[in-house]
């Protein structure tokens, strides 16, 4: 444990939903759920208004629809828009300190010991407060919550205590006071299974857990997990804020404009991505042993599968064939939204394979089948995903408010405009085009 509160954890508040409310003024103050909008979709983020009704991330969208009142917006994610807002926030963090570890699009750790400020509670609190105040301006109105503590674990817990727009600084020496009353699930590494197991021993809070001996925890959970829990319950976490980690994998992925069911199209995509991945491997003078594919179904269910080769390779055909074999085990009949190929397990040598002329297990797409049209990327046109950005030749920028029966309804508004009017068009109206995310600045 460090002796000063020098680790900052920053978490953007209801990030996806907040970006939607910023870009769609008519949704401000209203419940919004972002995620899979199909009947098997899952909520990625619910706005605070939607959380009042019980909507939560990871909840099936169908359940969220039952819980939330009429007028709740259910939108497909616009990753492009989130990524731009995320970059603006990460830029502010890099101004604060050179040591920033971005863990996801809306979450990062910062090592304030490298920030060149006095690490007194007053100075740290003032500096982080100013950071939080700067974020709405830089992002067109988004907010973030921050936790500052002597370890990553506690900083993350602290950032969650007073969401949204909250700042909690844990003074050194008070870590256990903060941790004690929390439920054991607050500790990273304690999932539902461990929590259930602990409950059978009467352990509900971290304070209860602190009363258990290390030997007991080891006998229940095994050596490494038991010791880990024992240490974390005492806020013993020395992990450093890691800036650029050495690449441990290389991957490529494509999001399709329309869900793809044709195995030949998917096979052709795999081949292209395998080649891209291999050339990036070669740039790093490396070979790889493990091939992973990432598959996002039409309803946003995302899964990965991987296979480890007996020997490392740098051959695109071997990576492609392995990825294809993994994809063959996936049901693609409902259509894939996204497909990715990655390699990991890097080595400096490769034991290459013979390449047979006629791979019997569905080798490269055969030349005599009809030419395969590359899968269109970036969904839109026929799809008109709810929430997607569009532009009308005469009426300007807007977003897809509703669709169906060959029609699409667009609300014409954007960040900074008042709530705008709604117009309905034929889904194939030539004046209507997919558009880039609007600019909030």
């Amino acid at each position: 444990m460090r002796t000063t509160a020098s680790i900052l954890h920053l978490d953007l508040d209801a990030f996806f939903a907040a970006v939607e409310q910023r870009d769609k003024p008519s949704l401000q103050g209203k419940p919004v759920c972002v995620g899979g909008t199909g009947h098997r979709g899952v909520v990625s983020t619910a706005s605070y208004e939607a959380r009042v009704y019980g909507a939560r991330s990871a909840m099936p969208t169908a359940q969220a629809r039952r819980l939330c009142p009429a007028g709740t917006a259910f939108l497909s994610p616009r990753f492009g828009a989130y990524s731009r807002s995320s970059q603006a926030v990460m830029g502010l963090l890099h101004e604060l300190s050179p040591v920033v570890q971005q863990v996801s699009v809306d979450e990062a750790y910062v090592d304030l010991a490298a920030a060149g400020i006095e690490l007194t509670l007053e100075d740290v609190t003032a500096r982080v407060r100013r950071l939080l105040d700067d974020i709405p301006g830089a992002t067109g109105g988004l907010t973030a919550s921050a936790g500052v503590a002597s370890s990553k674990m506690l900083a993350k817990i602290a950032s969650d205590l007073e969401k949204p727009a909250g700042l909690v600084v844990v003074p050194p020496g008070h870590e256990l006071d903060v941790l004690g009353p929390l439920p054991v699930r607050a500790i990273g590494g304690i999932g539902p299974a461990t929590a259930t197991r602990l409950r059978t021993f009467g352990v509900e809070s971290v304070a209860d857990l602190q009363r258990m001996g290390e030997a007991d925890l080891v006998s229940i959970f095994g050596d490494s997990h038991g010791r880990g829990i024992y240490r974390l319950a005492r806020a013993q976490d020395d992990r450093a804020v890691e800036t650029e980690r050495e690449a441990k994998s290389v991957s490529a992925e494509e999001t399709f404009e329309v869900d793809v069911t044709d195995p030949r199209v998917l096979a052709a995509e795999l081949a292209t991505m395998s080649t891209r991945v291999t050339s990036r491997l070669a740039e790093g003078s490396a070979f790889a042993r493990t091939v992973t594919i990432k598959v996002r179904q039409h309803d946003f269910t995302t899964s990965t599968r991987s296979a480890t080769l007996p020997h490392p390779t740098g051959e695109p055909e071997v990576i492609r064939a392995t990825a294809q074999r993994l994809l063959d085990a996936v049901d693609v009949s409902d259509g894939l939204r996204l497909l990715g190929v990655g390699v990991s397990g890097f080595t400096t040598h490769a034991q290459e394979q013979f390449l047979f002329d006629d791979e019997p297990d569905g080798g490269p797409v055969e030349a005599d089948v009809a030419p395969v049209t590359p899968a269109p990327l970036l969904r839109s046109s026929q799809g008109w995903a709810p929430g997607a950005d569009v532009r009308h030749d005469e009426l300007g920028a807007g977003w897809v408010w509703g669709r169906g029966l060959g029609r699409v309804t667009v609300r014409f508004e954007g960040p900074g405009t008042p709530p705008g009017p709604v117009r309905t068009f034929a889904a194939d109206d030539p004046a209507l085009h997919p558009a880039d995310p609007p600019d909030w600045t």
Partner: protein, 376 residues
């Protein structure tokens, strides 16, 4: 059923019959060995739907009959018996095994549930026992042990007239052995994909006999089977299904560099140097006039090097191999000298045997090996 049989005869026969039995069979009766006594012989059979084995031995039969008992148990018992005549007798629900003053009573298993063995095939031809055993051992090392492409776990046996060839590859190396056999008909023509593990077991078990009969195609009582016969032992194996990849393009069509080395010397040197090859990654071979330098390890890791005399023709060359793959090949050629042919360091190398340092190459066995690449 009641009979007497010599201890060694019984032990050898049971052990051979049950050698292929699974320890966890899909149905309990498949763990059994079927004993059938008739006139003056005892026939033992085992079958697990993949592999069948049948052996007949002389016995003094008092009462013909049949019984099914646990195969591995009977095998262990018969091997541990003293060297005296053994008597087997069915007594109620048990089979009694007596030898000297030892007595065992084994539970009989229901013969009604026991499957019918594949019909013992008539051979399509025969091959010398020791030649067959060596050929199978040379090729089976290259068969795939993984599960990504099941047909690669097989050895491809091809027969064309009096030519018999065995081939296997796990994608990293490929072994091909060609030999002459005695077909029953001059126009014999077959291709069969035999599970490598079963073929190795069978070849080892039958190879001690003078000749081994091989039955393929219709002779084996169906397209999906291969049969082997040596003396009074017969076995069948189910074939693998599927198209074997076309591998002819893997053999290099040209040769730039040829090195001839003493097999034993090279083997010992590679084994020593490979001790420092991290996770068996690679040994590097630098061929130059008169010698090959063998090296492993780099950077901060342990390093080793050794030089071995070699007769080189063609340009000098530096190439790297997985040491185990190289040693497998050197162990398989079975000749005093090894001949290695190369084109480029990134292309497959071919290893074959040679009886004399300056003699002719023996091309009846070829082991093609894919080299290891290093990051540049």
């Amino acid at each position: 059923m009641k009979l007497q049989v010599e201890r060694d005869v019984l032990a050898e026969a049971v052990t051979w019959a049950v050698r292929g039995l699974s320890t966890r069979p899909p149905v309990p009766v498949l763990a059994g060995v079927l004993l059938e006594a008739s006139e003056d012989s005892l026939t033992l059979s085992a079958f697990d739907y993949e592999v069948s084995a049948k052996v007949t031995v002389p016995a003094q039969v008092d009462e013909p009959g049949e019984t099914l008992v646990m195969g591995r148990l009977l095998s262990e018992i018969s091997r541990s018996l003293p060297a005296k005549p053994v008597s087997l007798a069915v007594d109620g629900a048990k089979l009694t095994v007596s030898c000297g003053s030892s007595r065992f009573a084994l539970q009989q298993m229901p013969t009604a549930d026991y499957p019918t063995l594949p019909i013992s095939p008539e051979p399509s031809g025969s091959v010398q026992g020791d030649v067959f055993t060596q050929a199978v051992a040379q090729v089976a090392i290259a068969a795939d042990r993984g599960d990504t492409l099941p047909i690669l776990t097989g050895v491809r046996m091809e027969i064309e007239g009096d030519k018999l060839s065995l081939l296997a590859t796990d994608r990293y190396r490929l072994a091909l052995r060609e030999l002459t056999w005695n077909p029953s008909t001059a126009d014999a023509s077959h291709v069969a994909l035999i599970p490598a593990r079963t073929l190795s077991d069978t070849a080892r078990a039958l190879g001690a006999s003078g000749t081994v009969g091989i039955a393929l195609g219709h002779a084996a009582g169906g397209e999906g089977l291969v049969g082997f016969e040596a003396g009074r032992r017969r076995s069948t194996s189910r074939l693998l299904d599927g198209e074997y990849p076309k591998v002819t393009a893997i053999f290099p069509t040209s040769v730039d560099t040829v090195a001839v080395l003493n097999t034993a010397t090279l083997t010992e040197a590679v084994k020593r140097v490979a001790l420092v090859a991290e996770r068996n990654a690679a040994v590097r071979l630098r061929f130059s006039e008169g010698q090959v330098g063998i090296e492993a390890g780099q950077g901060d890791d342990a390093q080793a090097s050794e030089a071995v005399e070699c007769n080189l023709q063609g340009p000098e060359l530096e190439i790297a191999f997985n040491p185990q793959f190289l040693l497998d090949g050197l162990g398989a050629i079975g000749t005093a000298y090894a001949r290695m042919s190369f084109t480029q360091p990134s292309r497959p190398a071919v290893l074959s045997g040679q009886a004399e340092a300056d003699g002719d190459a023996d091309e009846s066995y070829r082991y093609v090996l894919m080299p290891v690449r290093f990051a540049s």
